[in-house]
């Protein structure tokens, strides 16, 4: 099942609603980059509120997606990282250094607008 990527003005909106498996994650990476190219979006919000567990591969893919989008000129905000997921990421040593984060979708969009406005 593919993850839907929605266009909202000059941003893309992705809400991941179920646990990702490796194939879906890679498919998502490809889809998102194509979509950015297609729509020449300036920003992307990825909401992972409903994800309770994450493994190192998915975390790496997420990090890669962020770096790749950045290369294509789109800022990425990840929103709704659950406490347990944050702890796992830190324990795995994945710090997602250059990723913007926000508490929820609303705040994420605000943050993105702010970033793009600057």
């Amino acid at each position: 099942m593919r993850i839907p990527i929605l266009k909202l003005y000059d941003c893309l909106l992705v809400s991941i609603q179920w646990e990702l498996d490796d194939a879906t994650a890679l498919q998502f990476q490809e889809d998102l980059l194509h979509k950015i190219h297609e729509t020449s979006a300036n920003g992307v919000v990825i909401d992972i509120t409903s994800i309770d567990f994450i493994d190192s591969f998915i975390a790496k893919v997420l990090g890669d997606v962020v770096s790749m989008s950045k290369l294509m000129g789109a800022k990425v905000v990840i929103t709704g990282i659950q406490p347990a997921v944050a702890i796992t990421l830190i324990e795995l040593g994945i710090v997602l250094d250059d990723v913007l984060t926000a508490l929820d979708l609303e705040k994420g969009l605000e943050k993105l607008q702010q970033e793009l406005g600057d």
Binding site: I78, I90, L103, G108
Partner: protein, 278 residues
Amino acid sequence: MNELVYKYIRDNRNNILDNWIINMREKADERLIKVVSDEMFARTSSEFIDMITTRLTDNGQEFLNRLTDFAEKVVRLGWPLTFVNEGLREFSRITFEGMMDTGLVNQDNQMDIIYDFDSFMTPMNNEIVNMYSQTWEKTVSLQKIALQELSAPLIPVLDRITVMPLVGTIDTERAKQIMENLLQGVVKHRSEVVLIDITGVPVVDTMVAHHIIQAAEAVRLVGAHCMLCGIRPEIAQTIVNLGINLNEITTKNSLQKGIEAALEITSRKIVEMEEMEE
């Protein structure tokens, strides 16, 4: 229990008690004497001897109850286990010597009496040690729970600003709890800025710093800012001397400064009333 010994103890109870108190007073260290008044010492001693003699007449529940009471009382008074143990040994020594002096013990029956005496004293000794360790374990576990409750409170002080004051040494277990509470609190209170106040943390070593950095990173991942407040001069010195890199985290020297900075991040500020009226 040998009738002979029992009779002797019963008849010479007061004598034994007096001797015992005198001997024990010499043996007790100053610390003990200071905390316990003379009267209290005499009373507790009497109770102790009473307890031992209960064991003579009745070898069951009654003794166990009294022992429990006594152990709890003694632990509360702060008598060391070694002292109580010594007391028990002293009691048997005095009794035995007394019996020897009066000629109750002679060549023929000494083995029997020693054997009897030993089988009387040893279980009592064990029970006392057992009771003591149980009481201590209970105290320790209660304190552990109390410590856990105190370990990581999270206080929402202003809208979108939360403070976690840390007091006391941080170990791995506590760090884990701090991290969990911190993240859950941030999500629950929907905070934008979290201030970790370490005024009450006596030592910040590499391990503690590592835990704090991890917590700050995790807070950033859930989408909030993390700030470290209350860094005392000696803490700053240790951090730099240990070569710990806290560059990623905003640090402030007091909670007040931290809150001001937090307000700034959430684009608010505190203004005085007069200023507003102008």
